[in-house]
Subunit: 245 residues, 2 copies
Amino acid sequence: MSPARSLVVGVLGGMGPDATVDFFAKLVAATHAERDQDHLRVLIDNDPTVPDRTAAIRGTGPSPAPRLAAMARGLIAQGAEVLVMPCNTAHAFADAIVAAAGDVPFLDLIETTVAATRTRLPDARAVGLLATDGTLDGRIYHDAYAAAGFEALAPAVDDQRRVMAAIYAVKRGHAGAEDAAALRDVAARLAAAGAEAVVAACTEVPLLLRDGDVVVAGRSVPVIASTDELVARTVVVATAGGRGG
Amino acid sequence: MSPARSLVVGVLGGMGPDATVDFFAKLVAATHAERDQDHLRVLIDNDPTVPDRTAAIRGTGPSPAPRLAAMARGLIAQGAEVLVMPCNTAHAFADAIVAAAGDVPFLDLIETTVAATRTRLPDARAVGLLATDGTLDGRIYHDAYAAAGFEALAPAVDDQRRVMAAIYAVKRGHAGAEDAAALRDVAARLAAAGAEAVVAACTEVPLLLRDGDVVVAGRSVPVIASTDELVARTVVVATAGGRGG
């Protein structure tokens, strides 16, 4: 219908559902449109039955890889031309998605977040991670940040327990002010330990912690939300990629 | 995995995208879950390129029926076991969806909203409609409410222009306090004309007008949101329908 058709976006979702809602809402809000017909077409497979990612990384549960590959194939069969997955922990299994996707590009959330960190904070040396146990155990962000010249700091053991409790409170739909306070508290300790920014490296975290929420010694510490960076990249790729298509 | 698997919900979305986000967010919130794996699986085709429904009903644009039928088939091919469409105006073309869906049930938004009105307000005789021109021109709600023993009141011509302006402000992502005020004002006039409840008969309306917002002569007039009623019915059908499956 339009001379500049955008790419159809396929979303591997449900990990967790609230994070998928947040990604979708931000994607719609980021798409300037004068009428429905100017928005992006988005296909979402919100499948909360994907096996637990942290358990799989720890070897205590089945791998989600076959299910993620099947989701990718299903979305492509329905017309998806670019794939995204708003779940950081599941990126430990990104190879299975890329293999299943063939020629359809998969916008990697980890690479996107690390690249955005470098762009936004060109002089920074260290960032703090608010992530699941699985993301930390799998060193998903540690290795990607190291390759980009950053040191990635993880919370101390007791603080990490509070981060996981907050993330699972969001997944249960029971998150409250005390969970947000716990994340602010852990983020402040990461900043005190040398982190020049805090990375919301789990897509549940931005539901509780936003840029501007972390203040240490009167100074605001940037919060880089992986969800928001993926939204921004998706809009650019889907719009630019579809020009003339 | 679970002894009581729920039905996979397929959503014909994008009409408009904000209304689809609102439906999805409310569906996730309505699904009590201790972990991701307890939520409903939801497949969404958010296709904002579906031809304009009001224009089609007025005979000034192409019919969306072929596109809606294709969306239904695509969602079913991907695994949908029950279909919903959070757009009231598009229900003028529900027959095409039902025909395409075959044995897969389609939960009709209009029937659901009228049934909920009867349940919530058993003694009411008249309701007021906040809806698109297409929904009013097609008499989608007028006829359904008449069959249930209600009189459905539409806004006066000038007021209806304000309703359409507010709906399109939401679709453009530019809705503000003045749009919400316009809807409250029109709703109050419908109540003054005899409406015992106001029906948010367009899925963009609940983004601006909520239950409790309409007060006439010190009395709160109920706002029945079609979106919320469809969410409630979807949860019941998807959960009950899947028991033992």
